[in-house]
């Protein structure tokens, strides 16, 4: 299961654009409600993600933030 597929790229894209300004932080919370692990990855983003994308175990939640030094933030292409 790939995170990029689950993400709904358009949703994340829209959210990030909406709050785009230099030094902005976008937080994303993901809960894995499946019976198997979820691997999340990305195809492209501008900025820094912390913590680094990693496997999410079943019933676990992970919170990560994307920070940007650019005026426009966009990422996780479909």
């Amino acid at each position: 299961m790939r995170f990029a597929n689950l993400f709904g790229a358009a949703t994340l894209f829209a959210s990030m654009i909406a709050s785009a300004q230099a030094g902005i932080i976008v937080t994303v919370k993901v809960k894995n409600s499946t019976t198997g692990p979820a691997a999340y990855t990305f195809e492209y983003f501008s900025g820094s993600v912390a913590p680094s994308p990693s496997t999410i175990l079943p019933s676990a939640t992970t919170t990560f933030a994307l920070t940007s030094v650019a005026d426009t933030v966009y990422g996780v292409s479909p």
């Binding site: 689950l6 976008v26 809960k31 409600s33 198997g36 692990p37 691997a39 912390a50 913590p51 933030a65």
Partner: protein, 271 residues
């Protein structure tokens, strides 16, 4: 933004039958220095001791690895965790490699409780059984997760990863709860830098080159925007001022923590 990953697969009612555990005394033949005696001493090292030794050497080993090798080790660790989780979710529990091949009771207990924990998570709804690694220091857990020596079973590494992820989530969810829209987020960037600085080399390799410089730049920018008060706060920073307490428990060595985990696994078995 909150997201939820859901699947509509049938739940996996997985059970593991008790497997035969071939005895393994792990003999190590040491050459005797006394030629006249012509004796050979056989020293048996317990599997628990082997695990403790592997844990104690992990940091030294990583210190001599290239960045490329560290990235490879990180990727393999993540892949192993993912593949094992898929295997458990698929109900593929018949192979003998799910438990440590040893007759060391502490290692057997740790392996069994780790496996029980993993199987519990794969059920729908999840059955949250005790994680034998709960409370172990983060970087000791990391050494187990990214160990490639075969010292630990996949189930043990999976359970260690579960606890590692839980501790990281506790840290970051608390840290990010303090993000302000348009306000001073210098503490957030500092929290990210503190976390990154304490990571083992194998996990640092997962971040892109220049990651820390990028966060530091944002941190400095925030301090400049926030004026002299923020700079004053920076000069008086100490551990107690941190918004989120460090996830890196350095009070105990990883080996002592694993020893405690092994003892707890035995206690769980007899409870």
């Amino acid at each position: 933004m909150n997201m939820s990953i859901k699947s509509y697969q049938a739940s996996t009612q997985a059970k593991v039958s008790t497997q035969e555990k071939p005895p393994s005394s792990n003999p190590v033949n040491l050459p005797s220095g006394d030629v006249a005696l012509k004796t050979t001493e056989t020293v048996t090292i317990s599997d628990s001791a082997r695990a403790l030794y592997a844990l104690s050497k992990a940091d030294d080993k990583q210190a001599f690895m290239s960045n490329k090798d560290l990235k490879g080790q990180y990727a393999k660790g993540q892949s192993d965790i993912y593949n094992f989780g898929q295997r458990i979710a698929g109900g593929n529990l018949n192979n003998e490699d799910l438990l440590p091949k040893t007759d060391d009771p502490a290692r057997l207990a740790l392996g069994q409780h780790s496996l029980d924990y993993a199987i519990g998570l794969s059920k729908l709804p999840p059955e949250k059984l005790p994680n034998p690694f709960e409370g172990m220091a983060r970087n000791g857990l990391s050494n187990i997760v990214y160990d490639d020596s075969g010292t630990y079973t996949d189930a043990e590494r999976y359970a260690a990863y579960g606890e590692l992820s839980k501790q990281d989530e506790t840290y970051f969810s608390k840290l990010y709860a303090n993000i302000t829209n348009g306000g001073d987020n210098s503490e957030i960037f500092k929290g990210i830098m503190d976390y990154f600085d304490d990571l083992p080399a194998v996990e640092k390799a997962a971040y892109p080159d220049g990651f820390r410089d990028s966060i530091k730049s944002l941190y400095q920018e925030q301090l400049e925007q926030s004026g002299p008060l923020a700079l004053l706060r920076q000069s008086t920073e100490n551990e107690a001022d941190k918004l989120a307490p460090s996830v890196f428990n350095k009070a105990k060595s990883p080996e002592k923590m694993l020893q405690a985990v092994l003892e707890k696994a035995i206690a769980l078995s007899t409870a």
